[in-house]
């Protein structure tokens, strides 16, 4: 019997719920850990990023206004879909250099993390909201609201668990985002896009780019319609640039330096709080 020729997957960007190639037509060569396959990965451009920001901004109003129960279910749905595709992700993680058992552990932790934040999506508001005891004849309350559009520079090492751990609290909190995947381990981040597209996550809520951090980070941090930037990494020069550029429009700059995403304390409602704004609303009490 003839050996069947395997179909190879084209890894593309994920913008506004669609899978375009980079508008720039550029690619970079990616080789798996055992040097058996060469692949072309999209080398996303500044223009791709801008398009993604437009999509994220467009999606923000609907997503941030979804009721919390709905957002919670959608995050749970991402977990469900991922559970059904474990083998695919294990395969990709192994190509990226993990052992099979490490890959299995990573995918299960990732699914659990999604469920963890699915559970928080309709609860952090209660934990962080308050009715304030004002000493005036007024009633007021403080609630967290989504910061807006968040640019995420995902961890270079932890390309699935870290990737999901960083954007899940962002969208659980009603933000939309543009995520730059790990440059050296891009496969499962791109495949994650397929999961998101099948999980009732509205188009534009999560946009995923691949490409060079050295090229795109400047644009991620300086774009004037980005409200917050999350940077994962230890490069001090990059951190300085991100924080300097954040000053252009007072972006919230959040740095996860050397975080071990497999730890239990690498999750929690305070990760959601990082991309929340507290709003206090006053009203008189009386006739």
């Amino acid at each position: 019997m003839d050996k069947r020729l395997k179909i190879r997957k084209t890894y593309k960007l994920f913008i506004d719920g669609k899978f375009p190639r980079t508008e720039s037509g550029r690619y970079y060569k990616w080789t798996d850990a055992k040097k058996t396959i060469d692949m072309s990965i999209c080398r996303g451009s500044r223009k791709d990023f801008r398009n993604a920001v437009v999509a994220a901004r467009k999606a923000f109003k609907d997503w941030s206004n979804r009721n919390a129960y709905n957002r919670s279910q959608i995050l749970y749905r991402i977990g469900e879909m991922l559970e059904g595709c474990c083998d695919q992700f294990i395969g990709e993680l192994v190509l990226q250099g993990l052992t099979k058992s490490a890959a299995e552990k990573e995918i299960t932790q990732t699914i659990d993390r999604l469920l963890y934040y699915a559970g928080w999506a309709d609860k952090y508001q209660q934990v962080f909201s308050r009715v304030n005891p004002v000493s005036l004849p007024y009633f007021n309350f403080t609630v967290p609201e989504a910061t807006g559009v968040v640019a995420v520079c995902a961890p270079e090492e932890s390309s699935l668990l870290g990737f999901v751990s960083v954007f899940a609290p962002v969208i659980a909190g009603g933000n939309t985002c543009v995520v730059l995947a790990s440059q050296s381990r891009p496969l499962c981040s791109v495949s994650c896009a397929e999961i998101l597209q099948n999980s009732d996550v509205p188009a534009g809520v999560v946009n995923i780019l691949t490409g060079f951090r050295s090229e795109l980070l400047e644009h991620f941090s300086s774009h004037m319609d980005i409200n917050a930037i999350i940077y994962c990494g230890e490069n001090l020069q990059e951190i300085k640039m991100v924080e300097e550029n954040a000053s252009l429009n007072v972006k919230r700059a959040i740095v996860y330096n050397d975080e071990d995403w497999s730890k239990n304390n690498s999750q929690g409602p305070y990760y959601i709080l990082k991309t929340q704004e507290m709003k206090t609303t006053w009203h008189p009490v009386g006739m």
Partner: protein, 488 residues
């Protein structure tokens, strides 16, 4: 418009002067820097005058702190942090802060008079708003000192170290309280720099702090201008920077701190929309418009400086607003009848004049009540601009003066999109008697504080701070505490 809709104030003539007495206040001719529990002269021996903006007369002089002064203040704060304050039993820490609150209450009248003398704000406001709120702030945070474990579920807290704090001139003592109280409660020590034009109540606060026997170095207060502030921000031994002021300076601070690992909170500018729907209680709304923009001469970052009136009631609202403006008493800040006091400085007055010129050149039509302004000092009459649109500079940029830009709207969605069409997001106002509309609009305005059927209300338990370019972090309440702790 029917006659019955015209507001009649019927004041029956001018008010007799009712000046607050100044004979009970104690001010020195010259102050020192408050470092390590003592008033010390600046190392360079340079002083600058602080004047009364209502008559341009010198009140006192204060040192201009240089690098060495900043350094000794930070060192004193560091020593006090390491040796005393971070080791002290939290309940004891709280007691010192309670003491500060009590001493401010005891001297409230003196503080109020000095605040009005040095900054130009009406005594009615410094007496009824600034000083009582400053005391309340210390009192509120004092109680948190030994309860930090209850503030952040699932986490314990750690203090940050030395906080460098820079405050503006619009609410001098109140801003000092907003900065110092949560910092101390959380176990940090501070170096505070009051604004160049309004240093006196901060220095009086230093006296209070000394009298409260707060250990030397826990609070240090240094005076100076922008350069002094810059030195404080850049000082390598400062762990946290807290700033209230313009967005421009806030951005500069962010840039300066980039890569330093220092924490920061910023309370920056604003251009709040104040929205009047046709179903609002119109007379109350008119009062609210006045409170929103003319409170403290409009020197308020959260001032309602963009007014949006629903078209169907615009004529009535604007006409009543003009009537009301004609009754505002402008003049001596120390007079208890005064509604609008002096503009804080010549520089600020020039900025306001410049913006009003820009507004006129861009085609806006101006209304000002006829009033006589005092000859000496810095004054500006309350001002309305009609015939302006979103793209006008006086609609987009913060003026920080008694200048209101009025636009009209037809639908809810239209006004929400106009309200949010600004890089700022500090505050907003909504006036309607319809609850469902109120919840929709307050939810959709992208700003940190929303006043519904009221405006410009503050309370120590209630977080204050901005979205977008209006800042980062909150002051007041538990969120204000979060700005001064690390969660572990």
């Amino acid at each position: 418009m029917s006659k019955s809709k015209t507001l009649k104030f019927d004041t029956g003539g001018a008010y007799s002067p009712a000046p607050e007495s100044t004979d009970h206040i104690q001010l020195k001719d010259r102050y020192g820097l408050f470092i390590d529990g003592n008033f010390t002269p600046s190392k360079a021996g340079k002083y600058f005058d602080t004047i009364n903006p209502a008559n341009e007369e010198k009140i006192s002089e204060v040192p201009e702190a240089n690098t060495k002064d900043v350094d000794s203040a930070v060192q004193a704060a560091r020593q006090a942090y390491e040796k005393v304050w971070s080791k002290m039993k939290p309940s004891e820490r709280g007691k010192y802060i309670f003491r500060i609150a009590r001493l401010i209450q005891e001297r409230a009248r003196e503080f109020a008079v000095i605040e009005s003398l040095d900054g130009g704000k009406p005594i009615r406001e410094s007496r009824d708003v600034d000083i009582p709120l400053a005391a309340a702030h210390f009192f509120y945070y004092a109680g948190w000192a030994d309860k930090l474990d209850f503030a952040f579920p699932g986490c314990r807290t750690k203090s940050l170290g030395v906080a460098g704090q820079i405050i503006p001139w619009n609410f001098p003592l109140l801003m000092a309280a907003w900065k110092i109280a949560p910092a101390l409660a959380a176990g940090n020590t501070v170096v505070l720099k009051p604004a160049e034009t309004t240093p006196l109540t901060a220095l009086k606060l230093a006296e209070v702090i000394r009298e409260a026997d707060v250990p030397p170095g826990v609070v240090n207060i240094i005076t100076g201008g922008g350069e002094t502030g810059k030195m404080l921000v850049k000082h390598p031994d400062v762990n946290k920077v807290a700033f209230t002021g313009s967005t421009e300076v806030g951005k500069f601070i962010m840039k300066t701190l980039a890569g330093s690992g220092k924490r920061y909170t910023l309370e920056l500018g604003g251009k709040a929309a104040n929205i009047i729907f046709e179903d609002a209680a119109i007379n109350q709304a008119v009062e609210g418009i006045v409170d929103a923009i003319f409170f403290n001469q409009g020197h308020v970052c959260c001032a309602g400086s963009r007014l949006y009136v629903q078209e169907s009631v615009a004529k009535e609202v604007i006409s009543k607003l003009k009537d009301r403006m004609n009754t505002l008493v402008i003049g001596d800040p120390l007079d208890k009848n005064t509604d609008i006091g002096a503009i804080n400085s010549r520089m600020q007055l020039e900025k306001i004049c410049e913006y009003v010129d820009i507004g006129k050149k861009e085609g806006g039509s101006v209304y000002q009540p006829s009033c006589t302004l005092p000859e000496k000092g810095f004054w500006y009459a309350p001002t309305l601009f009609a015939d302006v649109s979103q793209s006008h500079r006086i609609v987009q940029e913060e003026i920080f003066g008694p200048v209101l830009a009025i636009q009209t709207f037809r639908t809810v969605d239209e006004v929400i999109s106009k309200a949010n069409n600004t890089p700022y997001g500090l505050s907003g106002g909504v006036w309607t008697d319809k609850g469902s509309k109120l919840f929709k609009v307050t939810k959709e305005i992208r700003a940190g504080v929303i006043w519904a059927n009221t405006f410009n209300k503050f309370d120590p338990s209630s977080p204050f701070g901005g979205y977008k370019e209006s800042g980062m972090g909150r002051e007041g309440g538990i969120d204000g505490l979060h700005s001064y702790v690390e969660l572990v």
